[in-house]
């Protein structure tokens, strides 16, 4: 069997906000072509972990070793961008293909326009091409943000709770889409839809300040109870993201 190479190797990672420890001694790695879901309560440090991976925050201790071939595509939380900004779907998706070196009077080349068409087709949103962002439904918007993240063909797609304000049916479809994408790239996603996750994900990271990496998608009641610090009956009703663990003072980021 081919040895899967590590895209990201997180070693003994601790992140603090002032005196408050957001995550502590996190240790796991993400291999190529893996679909990994992060679950855990608010204040558990999920978003902090992702922000550390993306380089938004500096670790207090430990390190995140990134493979030289790592190329990240990122889908942010719904409230992190200007939803009313007058920008078209094409412009948003193309912005994901900007190279990090700034060029004066930059114009997108035909290569980028072709990639835009491929991306729209892949996500089945060709009809939205010329629409403005502020005219889209929640589900459509999520697909556009996904398009922006994958247009540059990343090998790791990171998604931070993309399903807030999206109905279960759309969430299901979205997961199908991600499963399809996971043949070409690894996926690291924060999600609370525990019922849906289990049918799609390869592995699960349970985050509650520290991380437990579970191979496979089967989550026992003990694992869930441990992660959310609450009875498993509550978790099944979509409450976990509102339950704070006893030792947490509340996430500064979520």
């Amino acid at each position: 069997m081919r040895q899967l190479s590590k895209l990201i190797d997180i070693k003994n990672l601790t992140v603090k906000y002032g005196d408050y420890t957001a995550i502590e001694k996190v240790d796991f790695s993400i291999n190529e072509n893996k679909f990994v879901t992060i679950i855990g309560p608010n204040g558990g440090g999920k978003t902090t972990l992702i922000k550390a991976i993306l380089g938004f925050i500096e670790p207090h201790k430990g390190e995140i070793i990134k493979s030289p071939k790592l190329k990240i595509g990122y889908v942010p939380q719904k409230n992190s961008f200007e939803q009313e900004f007058p920008i078209s779907v094409s412009q948003v998706i193309l912005s994901g293909d900007l190279e990090s070196k700034i060029r004066l009077l930059h114009r997108f080349k035909s290569k980028s326009w072709n990639r835009l068409d491929d991306t729209l087709k892949r996500l089945n949103i060709e009809d939205l091409k010329d629409q403005q962002i502020n005219e889209l439904s929640g589900g459509q918007l999520q697909k556009v943000l996904l398009g922006r993240a994958i247009i540059s063909n990343p090998n790791l797609l990171i998604l931070d709770e993309p399903f807030s304000n999206i109905d279960t049916n759309s969430t299901n479809k979205y997961f199908h889409l991600l499963k399809e994408l996971s043949h070409d790239m690894s996926i690291l996603i924060i999600s609370h839809d525990i019922g849906i996750i289990t049918s799609f994900t390869d592995d699960v990271v349970c985050m509650n300040k520290t991380a437990h990496y579970h191979h496979g998608s089967h989550l026992t009641n003990e694992i869930l109870q441990d992660t959310y610090s609450c009875p498993v009956e509550l978790i099944g009703h979509g409450i976990p993201h509102r339950v704070f663990p006893h030792h947490s003072a509340g996430d500064l980021n979520d």
Binding site: P76, S80, F81, S95, S100, L104
Partner: protein, 255 residues
């Protein structure tokens, strides 16, 4: 009035000034409105209430850097932060004007502006600032668009968010230096937001909003100028009153 324009240089200066100022309000106004900097971004204007003009440049640029730095490190709302700089800048500005020896200070024209007193050197300054703003905006257009829509994602692409933060605030600061002669600092908020608000009634595309806002801004300033001439009232106030009137009439018709 056409005859007068050919006869009087101050009227020609006012019209050329209005033309270039409209380009500035089109671009900077659209950014401020769409990025919802509203009160905050414009607050920076009070910082330029210092003479001579190069002191204003240095002061406003240093303040821009201060605002971005404080905002990044303390996570407070830029609006409240700029509000603090706003009042401080205005207080310092008035202090400097009064400390200035010689002629009695003309605080009134600073607060309310007077487009009819634009000199050739003011004009050169307005044109220079317009060239800077248009160039910086056009040269990085695709990057600006990505930055305006989603700063966090922009950062993940490997770009420096702070560089664009600083540049944007500096552009806003110099835009206000250019506009202060026309309508004065108190009315700048209106001149930066009204044309864009009007443009948004007709378009939902950023580029078009900028072009339309520039056009409306010119119409607003010229009609204000005309009314100020006819009724013999202060030009700054008449520009804003006529802008708001045209806007509300259009809004009513559109609805």
């Amino acid at each position: 009035m056409i005859n007068l324009i050919f006869r009087y240089e101050f009227l020609q200066n006012a019209i050329i000034g209005a033309l270039f100022a409209s380009i500035i309000t089109g671009i900077i106004g659209s950014i401020i409105v769409e990025k919802k900097l509203s009160f905050g971004g414009i607050g920076l204007g009070y910082l330029v209430n210092v003479e001579p003009i190069h002191t204003a440049f240095i002061f406003s640029i240093l303040s821009s850097i201060g605002i971005v730095k404080l905002n990044n490190s303390h996570k407070s709302y830029p609006d409240s932060l700029i509000g603090i700089f706003w009042s401080l800048g205005m207080a310092l500005g008035i202090l400097f004007i009064y400390l200035n020896p010689g002629y009695p200070p003309d605080v009134n024209s600073y607060l309310f502006g007077d487009i009819l007193t634009i000199t050739k050197s003011d004009l050169a300054l307005i044109i220079g600032i317009t060239v800077i703003i248009v160039s910086v905006f056009m040269m990085f257009f695709n990057y600006w668009l990505a930055y305006f829509f989603d700063e966090e994602f922009f950062h993940t692409l490997g770009f420096s968010k702070s560089f664009f933060d600083y540049t944007l605030f500096i552009l806003i600061a110099i835009a206000i230096i250019a506009l202060v002669k026309l309508v004065g600092i108190i009315l700048i908020i209106a001149l930066l937001t009204l044309p864009t608000a009007m443009a948004k009634l007709f378009s939902n595309t950023f580029n078009k909003i900028i072009f339309l806002a520039s056009g409306f801004s010119f119409i607003f300033i010229m009609s204000g100028l005309y009314i100020s001439y006819i009724l013999d009232i202060p030009s700054g106030a008449s520009i804003i009153i006529s802008s708001a009137t045209i806007y509300f009439i259009t809004l009513a018709i559109k609805n």
